[in-house]
Symmetry: C2
Subunit: 211 residues, 2 copies
């Protein structure tokens, strides 16, 4: 972490940020072990040992083994939402969503977070590993809730308006489906970015539901 971060009012405290860093660090270790040995063959003790902590301490950071990858996935969606909030307000919602995604994926390539190759490998492991699938879906469900206030602010509505909820849900679903298509290596998908662009453009056009 090289960013010079002032404490700021809405900003999490130093302790909380340290905690998040630890979680991310453990998450990276787990991702490596899972891809190397598989999910079942990796014990929580392995992850704890690899992270230089005791088993009991691991459980102070994660409620369950299957939660271990959540910080890694969540970092990606979190970053996307944050960049959406920073997008110029005159941009249309879909354009902003796409621009935010592009900025996020470009930036996270050079900095911390999860790199695309690893994310892809993990997503491919999801088939046949219910625990993985569940984590992936839970992270996206959380992302939906994070998206709501940002979308609400852009369109000038309340975060719990039905229209805002649905916009968040739809946008989020589009990104999820795009990444799932990209992960399995569908022929017409050249990059995650392209997949997301296609999906967002499709829902922006109304798609099959609004003919």
């Amino acid at each position: 972490m090289t960013t010079t971060a002032r404490r700021g009012p809405g900003r999490p405290s130093l302790t909380e940020r340290r905690r998040e860093d630890t979680r991310t660090e453990v998450s990276r270790v787990a991702a490596r072990l899972f891809t190397e040995r598989g999910y079942d063959a990796t014990t929580v003790e392995d992850i704890a040992a690899g992270s230089g902590m005791a088993l009991r301490t691991f459980y102070r950071y994660f409620r369950a083994k299957e939660e271990t990858l959540a910080p890694l996935f969540a970092a990606a969606t979190r970053d996307w939402v944050d960049r959406l909030a920073d997008c110029p307000p005159e941009l249309g919602l879909v354009d902003a969503l796409l621009a935010a995604y592009r900025a996020s994926v470009r930036h996270s390539r050079v900095t911390n977070g999860i790199d695309e190759a690893q994310l892809r490998a993990l997503l491919r492991m999801m088939e046949g590993h219910p625990a993985f699938r569940a984590t992936w879906l839970v992270v996206h469900r959380d992302s939906e809730d994070q998206l709501r206030p940002v979308i609400a602010a852009r369109v000038g509505a309340a975060p719990d308006d039905l229209a805002v909820r649905l916009a968040a849900g739809t946008a989020n679903t589009a990104v999820r489906i795009a990444m799932e298509r990209w992960a399995v290596g569908e022929a017409s998908v050249r990059s995650a970015e392209e997949a997301v662009a296609q999906a967002l453009r499709e829902v922006a056009s109304g798609g099959l539901l609004a003919p």
Copy 2:
């Protein structure tokens, strides 16, 4: 089950249906125990005993404790998709989705499946119970895949077309969000049916994403 069922070509075998019945039965027992005592306070042995089977046998029907409610949730979405397939083709997609939902909820009120009050109670338990949340989301993710071929058939496209995937994902998300709104008892929601109708109409109009 009192329906006189011929074997039919696409129909599952008797053994498979017996198995499904057993799963549903156990699912109902678990739903009762969870609502009575809470999720954590209910052990798998309780569920097995309540279902008249040994613990080891339970694990021949379910891979994990958190999977126990899946048949109950899945029966609802499965029924919805089946009725969509039976809707007259000249009906618009959104109208058909809504009609199928109405038929499903009306019919399952008198026959087997899960009744609304219990579903609502279980959904309300989801807050603070990650395992529940995950199951709910996984069921809806599966529903998305079941929806694809049916939608594809209606609009005359391939099931793995991006547009079909997104329509399935969006429709499914709309229903999920509607039910989540209904479950928490939002003021502007009088019934699950009304919530779903509102949500589907909103996405049919294009919503905030297609202004």
